[in-house]
């Protein structure tokens, strides 16, 4: 496996100003993303999961250069995107593309399929008419859209087919990184698996790198190599999917995993660790560990001191004072030493 790092994110933060009051006396911020550190290797799929409001989409939008970070670095192929001039950044945008959740609102209803797919090519590549048409046709074949539909409008398509148009737009420029923000959440179950299979196929065939953002854990597990779990603007755990599902280190991850309903009634009797309570407001996050208000194992230190996001064992990162499943850590370490 190549370990070349395509993207490195350092201490990425986004604080939205929600200051109220006539003279803006009461300064207040929503800490949507509060210090992310991770990297994405070339050719891998990094899944980001978390519940609504955890900041996963905000993080995706910042990496996709749709939102300006409050603080931090986004290093893409050794270059900090935040220090680039406008024209340099414009060139870079062709390398980072996005696929959005809602194929109904992310496609311009007045543009035909040909125009939709040709638009990024027109902006970034200088192709003549014939080349452009060939490239669009090639993209339509790749994503499984019938070429005969080239002159149709988005409203004539079902949700799954619209998402295929969105994917064709995203891959048309041969980007190095694609950020998929909930690409299957708005689709029916039988269509979801079609689109997921398509994404996996394209990722392998075109050697793409994905950041796959979703709240649906089974989908993330299927597509990702490594998974980052976010809670209240921070990553609480990051590891390979095999290790994550072998046993979680962070209590939030464990609660999240066991909350997912299993489509098999025989598994119903299994004991679940249901996380009590609600997610605290990101405007006023708790002191110490973010999760201590809902954590069944919280101690005094959790309420006062924020745990460091660190490597607990070979390739397993977590931010927790008292990680679970420590037997898995020891096992890994002995493997390492022998």
């Amino acid at each position: 496996m190549q370990d070349e790092k395509l993207l490195v994110v350092n201490n990425l933060k986004k604080h939205f100003d929600v200051t109220k009051g006539f003279f803006k006396k009461d300064k207040s911020y929503v800490y949507a993303v509060d210090g992310l550190n991770f990297d994405v290797k070339k050719g891998e799929v990094l899944g980001i999961v978390g519940e609504s409001g955890c900041g996963k989409s905000t993080a995706g939008n910042m990496i996709g250069q749709l939102l300006e970070p409050t603080e931090g670095e986004i290093i893409f192929e050794g270059e900090d995107l935040l220090n680039l001039s406008r024209s340099e950044l414009r060139k870079r945008r062709a390398d980072i593309q996005m696929i959005f959740q809602d194929p109904f609102s992310s496609l311009n209803p007045r543009m035909r399929v040909f125009e939709l797919i040709a638009e990024p090519l027109r902006t970034h590549r200088k192709l003549n008419k014939k080349e452009l048409r060939n490239r669009v046709e090639e993209m339509m074949d790749l994503v499984g859209l019938n070429r005969a539909y080239m002159n149709r409008f988005p409203h004539e398509f079902s949700g799954g087919q619209r998402q295929r148009i969105g994917i064709a737009r995203a891959i048309a420029l041969n980007p190095k990184l694609i950020i998929c923000d909930e690409p299957v959440s708005a689709l029916d179950v039988s269509i979801q698996s079609q689109i997921l299979n398509l994404l996996v196929k394209l990722q392998k065939e075109l050697d793409l790198t994905f950041i796959f953002i979703a709240h649906g854990l089974p989908a993330v597990k299927y597509i990702s190599d490594r998974i980052a779990v976010m809670y209240l603007g921070k990553i609480v755990e990051l590891t390979t999917k095999e290790k994550l599902f072998e046993g979680a280190l962070h209590p939030y991850t464990e609660g999240l995993l066991s909350a997912v309903p299993i489509p098999d009634p025989e598994e119903r009797t299994k004991e679940r660790h249901i996380i009590e309570g609600d997610i605290p407001s990101p405007e006023n996050p708790p002191n110490g560990c973010n999760f201590h208000t809902r954590c069944p194992f919280a101690q005094d230190i959790c309420r006062n001191e924020e745990p460091e996001f660190e490597e607990k064992a070979n390739g397993r990162f977590a931010a927790c004072h008292f990680p679970l499943n420590t037997h898995l850590l020891e096992k890994n370490e002995t493997v390492q030493s022998t």
């Binding site: 179950v189 095999e242 309903p261």
Partner: protein, 336 residues
């Protein structure tokens, strides 16, 4: 065996639109016993929500029940007057919806909205009604119920709002709770809390639940019986263990296989090719024929009947009808 609380027979609900007649619900039959959880599962456009709206007669102007009967406690709701229905709604039959924010009125306090059905149906005075509200809010696990009673819907989180909806729905001790995608808008950890709560309610109060959902995970977790709908029709009906262990209809099989399980790793996900047919122009034979891996000649031309199999299944598919016909001719031969 306990008696049937709700029985739907040959229900047809059509929408009369400018583009033509849309047969949203086409010949649907199933029943719910007291204290039972029946799940109706299907994708968007399968008619699952329209079925539930037909029971309460909450269809908009274009929609009409054109055939069939809905027997609730022996009474046919399709023939009931608006006044009779109004007495039932919120009293014997209650309903919760997907998005709790749009089902609560933003300009009235939670208490104000909760008291309305209680005062109307249970005929309590203000003081007793308030006590009942707070008792219900406590029961659904809302902390500081007295404070929530006086607060407005916008100040509560999604999970809390859905708890309020459930408290409100249960406040008059309904016999049947219709839950239309009750957890779809919620996060998984909150979904797990709400599903737990609904299960406790069935155990404590004996309320029957008609659970409408697209999520097979939720079905497997909650239901006693499952109705699988596709393109306005019931394609399969069985108890939950039988259905997941031995699905008979190719659509059900495809649906179960294409739902990834969190405790398994997959090389490739199973998927059902194609899309749902246009409701204005359903195929004349089986409606699943274009997407079915086992489609035969008669599937294109003739609509299959419901076949009842030995393990309590009902399947609407030619594959199984053929089996049955073969079995019967075999039996006859043996007899002769």
């Amino acid at each position: 065996m306990s008696e049937k609380l709700l029985e739907i027979n040959n229900l047809k609900t059509h929408f009369f639109t400018e583009a033509g007649v849309v047969p949203s619900v086409d010949d649907v039959s199933f029943s719910i016993k007291k204290g039972e959880i029946v799940a109706v599962v299907g994708e968007s456009g399968s008619g699952k929500s329209v079925t539930s709206l037909s029971i309460m007669n909450l269809l908009d102007k274009a929609g009409k029940v054109v055939n069939g009967e809905i027997l609730f406690d022996g009474k046919d709701l399709t023939k009931a007057s608006e006044k009779e229905l109004r007495n039932l709604r919120g009293d014997d039959i209650a309903m919760i919806f997907q998005e709790p924010l749009t089902s609560l009125n933003p300009v009235f306090t939670i208490g104000n909205q909760m008291m309305e059905p209680i005062r109307l149906h249970l005929k309590l005075n203000k003081k007793d009604a308030k006590a009942r509200c707070i008792e219900m809010l406590d029961k659904v696990g809302i902390p500081r119920a007295e404070k929530v009673f006086d607060s407005f819907p916008h100040s509560l989180s999604g999970g809390m709002r859905q708890r309020v909806m459930i408290a409100m729905a249960l406040s008059c001790n309904p016999m049947l709770l219709i839950a239309d995608e009750p957890t779809t808008a919620l996060d998984v950890t909150i979904q797990a809390q709400i599903l737990n709560l609904m299960r406790d309610i069935v155990e404590d109060l004996g309320t029957a639940i008609l659970l409408i959902t697209h999520d097979l995970g939720v079905v497997a977790e909650m239901a006693d019986k499952v109705v699988v709908m596709y393109a306005g029709q019931v394609v399969e009906y069985a108890d939950v263990f039988t259905l997941f262990k031995n699905p008979k209809h190719p659509y059900t099989q495809g649906l179960i296989e294409s739902t990834p399980k969190i405790n398994q790793l997959y090389e490739k996900l199973h998927s059902i090719p194609g899309t749902v047919p246009n409701p204005l122009n359903y195929p004349s034979g089986c409606r699943f024929v274009d997407r079915c891996p086992f489609a035969m000649k008669q599937c294109i031309t003739h609509e299959p009947n419901n076949t009842y199999t030995a393990d309590g299944h009902t399947v609407k598919c030619w594959l199984h009808e053929m089996d049955r016909i073969e079995n019967e001719t075999l039996k006859e031969k043996v007899r002769n």
